[in-house]
């Protein structure tokens, strides 16, 4: 039987798999499934501001997918866009958190765009199932945000 720490670790890895799906235009279904859909969930992304409550959180992930629908750099690549590293998980009853470093690499038309951010995920065990209730990523450096903005404005990467 898996320990609570193992269960939480697997859910956090699934979160980053869901993020990968979202960034690679494979939909938001797995991201939506992994969250607890309630008013107290919160998320913040490399672009900045907070989304509070499931309605806003869901919209933020959907907009993230819309933003990255313009990204074509991985269309013919098999390597991941990004993933979580140095993940440390702590479980306290029905609550848990994981801290780690998200690293990603985007292949833009004018070069490679690297990202390296500290991230925190908080989970709650609801009816025996761990769900994400909070996600926080540091804001990306302005150059990264500007490059993504140019991609959105142009409609291609």
């Amino acid at each position: 039987m898996a320990s609570a720490e193992d269960e939480v670790t697997q859910v956090i890895y699934k979160f980053y798999d869901a993020l990968e799906d979202l960034l690679r235009a494979r939909g938001t279904g797995s991201m939506i499934e992994i969250w607890h859909h309630t008013d107290y969930v919160t998320t913040s992304h490399p672009f900045g501001s907070w989304a509070r409550g499931w309605t806003e959180v869901k919209v933020n992930w959907e907009e993230g997918a819309a933003v990255f629908s313009a990204y074509q750099g991985h269309a013919t690549r098999s390597d991941r866009i990004g993933g979580i590293h140095e993940l440390k998980v702590v479980v306290m009853g029905d609550a848990a958190h994981g801290t780690g470093i998200y690293r990603s690499k985007l292949y833009m038309s004018d070069g490679v765009l690297d990202l390296c951010l500290n991230c925190t995920n908080i989970l709650q065990r609801i009816d025996g199932i761990w769900k994400i209730v909070h996600h926080h990523a540091d804001q990306a450096q302005p150059e990264w945000q500007a490059a993504i903005g140019r991609m959105v404005g142009a409609g291609h990467s």
Partner: protein, 130 residues
């Protein structure tokens, strides 16, 4: 109609809403904030495009989105209605005051979809308008 003054319009609450502020000299300022509930979406979809019709060739249009959050599908449709109304109008200058970076991405995407991206430029400060 161009040049026809509209009264200021204020819809919503602190959590989400918008304000339309026409000025006597023909300029137009729309400020939007928060996450819009359905009644705000409906009102914006009607009032903002209608207010845009008052823009004259000498007008400056300011869309203040400093406090606006990314919107869901229906809210995006209301924003598209404004951008589609604005795209063919012959006003002098259009500015979007940016805040939330994710909102900025959403607006940039919608502007491009509505072919209004050449009419409105993003700015950090309100150099003109009121």
């Amino acid at each position: 109609m161009p040049g026809v003054p509209h009264l200021p319009i204020n819809v919503g609450s602190a959590a989400g809403g918008f304000r339309v502020l026409p000025s006597p000299d023909g300029h137009l300022r729309i400020a939007a904030w928060g996450y819009w509930p359905p009644e705000v979406i409906t009102a914006f979809g009607v009032n903002a495009p209608a207010a845009a019709q008052t823009l004259a060739p000498s007008s400056i249009f300011v869309f203040d989105t400093k406090e606006l959050k990314p919107q869901g599908a229906e809210g995006q449709d209301a924003l598209r209605a404004l951008f589609r109304a604005v795209a063919p109008l012959p006003f002098a200058k259009g500015m979007i005051i940016r805040g939330n970076a994710m909102t900025c991405m959403q607006l940039a995407r919608l502007l491009r979809e509505c072919r209004a991206d050449k009419r409105l430029e993003f700015t950090d400060t309100e150099a003109v308008g009121g």
